[in-house]
């Protein structure tokens, strides 16, 4: 590993960035008495730190430095095990630093005006300091170069995000979400710790320099990768372990859930990339584990969005979408694993570039969506879609930002969502083309799942944007909403601009990100010109030039406007409802919009119960309109399902977590009998242990 001195400008910038995070933490705690001052100063310092580390990250990525800095600090007992605090500077970690600091840059600006609702009620100093600690620990996790300090900052990240999730702990469901969140992160953290140490066993040192492609015996390698999947998968929200995510992210303050959904899950993906690509290079298991990962990722993609469509809470819906996008990123990683197993280095690089690009894009538009929903919450104090409507009249820039965010997340072409999804599509198709075995069938099924997820995403976000911002206002909150504060509007500028820029200038973005991916594969598979990205794996290469598509769209729109011409006079009337007088009962309800999906995917949602809808309509047509809606999922009545875990009665929860919960309470019941209170029983325990040990001694 090359040596990067601390005087390297990029490293220096990141260090000063971390320093300003630390200063932000201290100022937040110091000035917590005066909430307004504390909120502004600490968040400004945090965004300044984020700006510094962003510039540092960009510098390191563009110069493509690869190496480790000298050890800054080490604990005596652990130093001879190779656990000194040194930074790991390489393109992959600098991409992650860019992602982290970019999102925290504008969400801190958003936070300044968002937290004014806590001034009287909660301690703003604690919130701001935890927020800065959370960002700092994420940056340090990505930079750390040995197992011990990685785990230290990883647990620090989990604990600080736990306290941020339970910040508004007065509400009962927040406490429950917090304890479930802690359960998953704690067990996941220990699984990762065990995986690291299993690798340490065959390298003899904890430092990551010795960890690159370690040849482990097959069963340990399988165990390590499964533990890593459990640990990083539960943090990222891969399907079997995703249950905490839709509960924890919505209850956190919006600028924090923007960071958690946008960035924290990416840090988990970074860990997964390290394990699958860097640490464990065992081709025999790579093929099978890669195929299993492919299936898991495809299920995650489809499952996340299929449930998102049915949600009634805005932020819960966005959390389910995070699960979907994590599935897409894991598709890229799975393709890379299988490609390495059939040693097609070009495909490995394409897949990793696709994942990195989607990590960057998803971080941007998901945090934008969470910030805008935070603005909606800040102005209307409710997140229930059925209560909201017609906010476009009032909150102009939030509406535009949310529209652009939802178009990006539904992979609408000119924007960045589509750019990375196109790359993921092509890594899957190329895998199918190159791997002539059953895996190619699985890859094509993953393509189908991805396209179905794309359609469902459009379905879901048209419903959300339509009912929240466009429809006629359906509640008092929606009618009396006031426009959002100015600072929130400025915080939208960066993500909106990036969504468009990364989408249109896709070739440039792919060129920069592929330098990060060259760590894992050679770049003979695709070359990038300024105008288009060309993929060579096929018999005849495939090209896609985003700039031309964007230009074509603009030209066609101008032509259409020309054809449309001028309108002299307009008359405003009520919507036309077949001649009847339009009144408030006719305003479209979101459940109406997604009714057919309930029929098609009913097994995914909770068991059904018949619910009768009845409307009395003017007697021209009939006395009253009644129909049985036989699909009425538990999502519409959350309290119904007694399940202690996700309370949403979704498929995975009914299949996995309810049986798990009952099995563990049975175990606890048995343990209670052990402590029955009778003295002679305790004495018999002692004699029994003594006899058992003597028996073992005689036999051994």
């Amino acid at each position: 590993m090359a040596f990067v001195t601390l005087s390297n400008p990029g490293v220096l910038l990141i260090l000063t960035g971390l320093l300003s995070y630390a200063v932000a933490i201290l100022t937040a705690l110091a000035t917590s008495r005066n909430p307004k001052l504390c909120g502004v100063t600490s968040h400004l310092l945090t965004s300044f730190g984020a700006l510094l580390s962003l510039v540092g990250g960009v510098y390191l990525l563009t110069t493509g430095i690869k190496g480790t800095t000298p050890g800054l600090y080490s604990l005596p007992v652990l130093s001879e095990l190779g656990a000194n605090l040194s930074f790991r500077i390489d393109p992959l970690s600098s991409v992650m630093v860019i992602v982290i600091s970019l999102v925290s840059l504008y969400s801190s600006i958003f936070a300044i005006s968002y937290i004014d609702e806590y001034y009287g009620k909660k301690n703003v100093g604690v919130l701001a300091s935890l927020y800065a600690l959370f960002i700092a620990s994420m940056t340090l996790v990505v930079l750390s170069n040995d197992a011990f300090w990685f785990m230290v900052f990883w647990e620090l990240m989990s604990v600080s995000s736990y306290f941020l999730v339970v910040f508004e702990h007065e509400k009962p469901e927040v406490k429950n979400a917090g304890s479930i969140y802690f359960t998953f992160t704690h067990i996941g953290g220990l699984a990762i710790l065990a995986a690291f140490l299993l690798i340490y066993k065959s390298t003899g040192s904890l430092s990551f320099d010795t960890f690159s492609n370690v040849s482990l015996p097959t069963n340990t390698a399988v165990l390590v990768l499964l533990l890593a999947l459990l640990g990083f998968g539960s943090k990222a929200g891969v399907v079997p372990f995703h249950v905490w995510l839709p509960q924890a992210h919505p209850v956190a303050p919006s600028h924090v859930s923007a960071l958690m959904s946008g960035v924290m899950v990416k840090v988990a993906v970074y860990g997964m990339i390290l394990f699958t690509m860097d640490f464990v290079s065992n081709s025999t298991i790579g093929l099978y584990l890669g195929a299993v990962m492919l299936i898991i990722a495809a299920i995650t993609t489809f499952y996340g969005v299929a449930l998102a469509v049915m949600q009634h809470n805005l932020k819960r819906l966005l959390a389910y979408h995070t699960i979907e996008n994590i599935g897409i990123i894991f598709l890229g990683i799975a393709v890379a694993m299988v490609a390495r197993a059939i040693n097609n280095e070009g495909l490995v690089m394409l897949a990793i570039t696709a994942s990195l690009f989607h990590i960057l894009n998803h971080a941007i538009f998901k945090s934008l969506l969470f910030l805008t929903s935070g603005a909606v919450l800040h102005q209307t104090h409710t997140l229930d879609i059925d209560e909201l409507g017609g906010l476009a009249k009032v909150m102009k820039s939030t509406t535009l930002a949310f529209l652009l965010g939802s178009m990006a997340i539904s992979a609408i072409p000119p924007l960045n969502g589509f750019a990375s999804e196109w790359l993921v599509y092509h890594s899957l198709l190329l895998l199918a083309y190159k791997a002539n075995s059953i895996v190619s069938g699985v890859a094509i099924l993953a393509v189908v799942a991805l396209s179905a997820a794309g359609v469902l995403a459009v379905y879901c976000f048209t419903k959300v944007f339509g009912t929240v911002f466009l429809n006629a206002p359906r509640s008092r909150h929606a009618e009396h909403a006031k426009p959002e504060p100015v600072l929130m509007r400025y915080s939208y500028v960066i993500p909106v601009a990036l969504c468009i820029a990364l989408g249109v200038a896709m070739p440039l973005a792919v060129k920069v990100l592929s330098t990060a991916a060259t760590m894992y594969g050679s770049s003979d598979l695709f070359d990038v010109s300024w105008i288009s990205v060309e993929i060579h794996g096929w018999r005849i290469p495939t090209t896609f030039s985003a700039p031309i598509i964007a230009a074509g769209l603009i030209l066609a729109a101008l032509f259409a406007a020309l054809v449309h011409g001028q309108i002299k006079s307009t008359k405003v009337t009520e919507p036309f409802v077949s001649g009847v007088k339009y009144d408030s009962t006719m305003v479209p309800v979101p459940t109406l919009y997604t009714m057919p999906l309930k029929k098609v995917f009913s097994s995914l949602y909770a068991p059904v119960k018949v619910k009768r809808y009845s409307y009395d309509i003017p007697d021209i047509v009939a006395a009253s309109l009644e129909y049985d809606d036989e699909i009425e999922t538990a999502l519409d009545r959350p309290g119904e399902i007694k399940s202690p875990i996700a309370k949403s009665g979704e498929l995975v929860e009914r299949l996995v977590y309810i049986p798990l919960y009952y099995f563990s309470s049975r175990l606890v019941q048995i343990a209670k009998y052990l402590q029955s209170g009778y003295l002679y029983v305790y004495l018999l325990y002692i004699f029994a242990t003594l006899l058992a040990m003597i028996f073992i001694a005689v036999k051994v």
């Binding site: 343990a671 209670k672 052990l674 402590q675 029955s676 209170g677 009778y678 003295l679 002679y680 004495l683 018999l684 004699f687």
Partner: protein
């Protein structure tokens, strides 16, 4: 303490005297276990301690520091311990013991089995760890059986005072074991063991009194307040 050779010289009469006294010891112990009346049990306990100290005297004939053992045994176990137990009995006005878990005949049968088991164990010890049998086979087996009877008492009796007697049985068993098997034990250990025995019984009597004051009876079987 000058270094001693490992073998212990005993005149034949001493060996037979120790054997006889040990068997008497065993008989008094089983009487304590079975009698329901607590004061009778106390009296026979005092008798048992006297027999034990007489065993020490017999050994003391040849090795004079055992006389110190005998005296300390008498002071602690014949005077102090009975004083505490009688004070406890007087304060808790306990005369008869509640019905234990096992009836008299069954517990006698178990005692017999335990004695046989102790004999078998000490027989095996001959080949296994000869060091224990400096004073011959009987004292070791008696001390093991005494300890086992103490354990039986504690496990199967409901009355608190009876459990105290169980603990006293174990203390006597240990005392005998130390005297006969761990022969050259320095004084500090002897003082440590003796004071431990007395303090243990004293504390348990105080607890028995509080148990009676709060619980109304000395029945330990009802003490199941503390669950998981």
């Amino acid at each position: 303490m000058e270094p001693q050779i490992s073998t212990v010289i005993m005149e034949p009469w001493q060996v037979s005297a120790i054997k006889g006294l040990c068997t008497v010891l065993l008989i008094t112990a089983s009487y304590i276990a079975e009698t329901r009346n607590l004061t009778n049990a106390l009296k026979s306990y005092v008798l048992q301690v006297l027999i034990l100290s007489s065993i020490f005297l017999v050994i003391g004939v040849r090795y004079e520091w055992f006389i110190v053992w005998a005296i300390s045994a008498i002071i602690t176990k014949a005077i102090l311990v009975p004083y505490f137990i009688s004070r406890a009995i007087r304060k808790t006005r306990a005369v008869e013991e509640e019905e234990p878990y096992l009836s008299a005949t069954v517990s006698l049968a178990i005692i017999f089995i335990l004695v046989v088991l102790a004999a078998v164990i000490s027989k095996k010890m001959q080949g296994f760890a000869p060091g224990l049998l400096k004073m011959g086979f009987v004292p070791l087996s008696i001390s093991i059986s005494l300890t086992m009877m103490g354990l039986l008492l504690i496990t199967t009796r409901r009355n608190a005072i009876k459990q105290i007697f169980g603990v006293c049985h174990i203390e006597n068993g240990i005392h005998l074991l130390l005297a006969t098997s761990a022969f050259w034990v320095p004084e500090t250990v002897e003082i440590g063991i003796a004071t431990d025995a007395v303090m243990l019984v004293a504390i348990m009597c105080i607890f028995a009194y509080h148990l009676y004051r709060l619980n109304g009876s000395l029945d330990v079987g009802k003490l199941v307040l503390l669950r998981y």
